[in-house]
Point group: C3
Chain length 338, copies 3
């Protein structure tokens, strides 16, 4: 695809070559994200970071990524604090906001809302998550993390064995990741969920017809053996009709160190899109895994900054100019990336 000036709405937009280009740019962002250098390549550009649903991690990650490229960020972090509550259409909001900034990131509780918004926008729009539909930057950072983890052991994504665990019905991160992985060769998907929260037959069908192997499991222990990656998700409470229904599934699948030791391979990488639910009734990923070197969840969020910087740089056509605007860092910097 041509990234310049394009909306980034869905992982369906990407083919394998596109992904490799994004990851190449993300690699080049490393020195700026870990503060070996700073760049001012987007000095003067403005991002409208429009979050019409609560979010800290993704909102701040996008905002910081834009700041790291030298740009400014304007923000909305709540649907109430917005003219949407006065009955304004997405079309109007998009026409208006796109007169203010150079690019827009948008999160919205309704599936399809970001695409509808983008259609009316006069500047590029990046989907920051729309309901249970899509969250393309999350899927990209997950895949980028998988690639880096596999490369660190001399392997590639082709032939990957991955277990996806939890709420596979409402988890948009899982849907998008499955799609992206299917661009590679010979993926073994092990889908582990309560029967009621299984992934849709449609997705399973499309993975199989693309030549991949898909097995479904209803028990954690059986589903996580012999995999390179175990990707755990939380119950997407906010997508359920009622809280009671959501609570029924909390804590059903819990991965902890003893289960990991017993059922996973010694170097199975543990991933999670975060936030994980650490309340006692949930704990889908136990705190006792924090010392496990294969726990990659914070490498995922660190990688998210690189991916988001790459998307901004490619859409705004400055990927090649980043280094021309580089300067040394003159303040104290912690060693943050490990």
């Amino acid at each position: 695809m041509d990234f310049i000036g394009s909306h980034i709405l869905s992982v369906d937009q990407f083919d394998r070559a596109d992904i490799e280009r994004i990851f190449g740019v993300a690699d080049a962002m490393g020195p700026y994200a870990n503060r070996s250098r700073i760049t001012q390549v987007l000095d003067g550009a403005i991002l409208s970071n429009m979050f019409f649903e609560p979010s800290t991690r993704t909102r701040v990650s996008f905002g910081c990524a834009f700041n790291l490229l030298g740009g400014e960020v304007r923000e909305t972090s709540e649907v109430k604090a917005s003219s949407l509550s006065k009955g304004e259409s997405l079309y109007d909001t998009a026409r208006v906001l796109s007169g203010y900034s150079d690019i827009i990131v948008m999160r919205h509780p309704q599936s399809g809302a970001v695409a509808e918004f983008a259609e009316a926008s006069r500047v590029p729009v990046i989907n920051g998550g729309d309901g249970s539909n899509e969250h393309p930057s999350q899927a990209l950072l997950d895949l980028y993390t998988i690639l880096k983890e596999m490369m660190s052991r001399g392997e590639s994504i082709d032939g990957l064995r991955i277990a996806l665990v939890g709420d596979l019905k409402y988890g948009r991160a899982v849907h998008s990741l499955c799609k992206l992985l299917s661009l590679f060769d010979d993926i073994h998907y092990q889908l582990v969920s309560p029967p009621e929260l299984a992934i849709s037959d449609e997705i399973v069908g499309s993975l199989r017809s693309a030549g991949h192997t898909v097995d479904e499991y209803f028990e954690l222990e059986k589903g996580i053996h012999q995999v390179d990656i175990v990707y755990v998700t939380r119950t997407q409470e906010e997508r359920f009709p009622t809280q009671e229904e959501a609570d029924r599934y909390k804590g059903l699948f819990r991965l902890n160190q003893s289960i990991y030791t017993k059922y996973c391979e010694p170097n199975t990488v543990i991933m999670h899109p975060l936030p994980r639910d650490s309340r006692s009734q949930a704990q889908e990923l136990d705190d006792d895994l924090l010392q496990n070197p294969n726990l990659a969840v914070f490498r995922q969020t660190d990688n998210g900054v690189l991916i988001r910087m790459a998307l901004f740089a490619m859409v705004l056509n400055v990927a090649d100019q980043v280094h021309n605007h580089a300067k040394p860092v003159t303040w104290y910097t912690a060693k943050r990336f490990n």
Copy 2:
């Protein structure tokens, strides 16, 4: 008036020459707002963008305008997230906040609150809307839009025929626009509202005594004939004593393409301060007008950025320096302004 270091609280501050100066500066902001160039003239300056009432459009518009001049923006977007909820007086808030930034934009639900705040502030304050009282930057951008629309057909504001439609009682945008227009010669106002939401006799009186023509209508069809501009407003629900009372007036006056074709002149310009209420029970301005080239509502919001940049530049005395700090844009820019 002398703009340098002044508060901008009310359209009453301006005479016709002031308005022409503001519009001249706004014209000069075009290349920066549409990203032909960037400027860093306010590099290092800080705006406190204090919105003690929900707003997306106006808040982001002011914030982007300041960023477009190179400045930084600190923001508050809710009254709850504020020390006002701990019983602090406006005086104290103003004394404190004015020690933090170079200029303050403030929106507040109470009429007169911004002026009270400004009195205690040690830095210039721009009124971003105070209850049903004033919203001077909105009135300026409306007038600026009227001027541009009239000029594009070789006419001027003098002699303008304008219909103002909807909630004329609580609509501060209308009040301020009426006042600004009355600085020009021979304006024909056609005021169209339910009797209970008519504009105050005081305003009508002052328009007439300034030599203008004012006619009042209670039916849409009769009020919008033979005008250059039809300016529609939404019912200001949040200003009504109860929601029930507000609902009574929703959807009373609806302008759509067929009514437009039947009753307006072929080139009557359609304006609205936005947000317009697109819910089925309201729809004061129908979506079927989107293809009408005389629909100027998005030109209004685009012009809002220019007007707000002009106000910042004039109050902070950098209008003459903008071009000295200009640089080319090196990233992808959409063609946003039409």
Copy 3:
């Protein structure tokens, strides 16, 4: 202590020499805070300003202080708008957020939460207030104000006589200020509160064992005589188990001009951490004191910017470089500091 890369969590970290170093750097920040010059020393650096409890003053003060040094600010201003509401642990939040920015300021409603957060953070964390526990930058700006007020009359902090009035049980500002003052010599504390809101015996004991004089009073008039400083606080409503209980103490101690004239010394300095509660049932510091030249409450908040700039500059190790990145101000600047 070594400030470079350190967390600033508690006034317990500082000895007298540390405080004097902070105040020296704060002095040097004056020209930048009052806009005689601007500096870009932190150009490219990012602050995550994380307020998980309502605050305007402290949040904007930290944000502006970082902007005044040339850095960018990303912000969260509500606990609801956060992944904490999805059950995320402080540990996870810290690990994630510390991958995004160079430094974090955090406010949290729970005592100890900021320290817990800091333990997991990979970048320096400054405590912006954690429940009724600590608020070190407030204590520093209070002490800095006391020093400047005393110096302006040719005196020092040693031998200071100070009355602390109000809710001394829940007021974290008072706790921290008491500790900081106790690093100096021969302080006379006059503690004035309802018996139920008295400061803890533990704090009184430690002040006495450090060689200071502590007297407790339950009546305002008796407690504020013969002091250099009277430091009044509001009832910390949000810390009380119920609103009813908080209301019981509102308005018990009210300092106004006539009481001041009758019981204070002619040059007793009046301080308050702000916000003060100006509702009629509270008014712990009456508006009729606004004309009193000894009212230092707005000098306190102005000093807060200097202190926060100093902390940022020292932790990020740029205190010595500030002047190298200085530029003249080219826009209108109000005379804000008095």
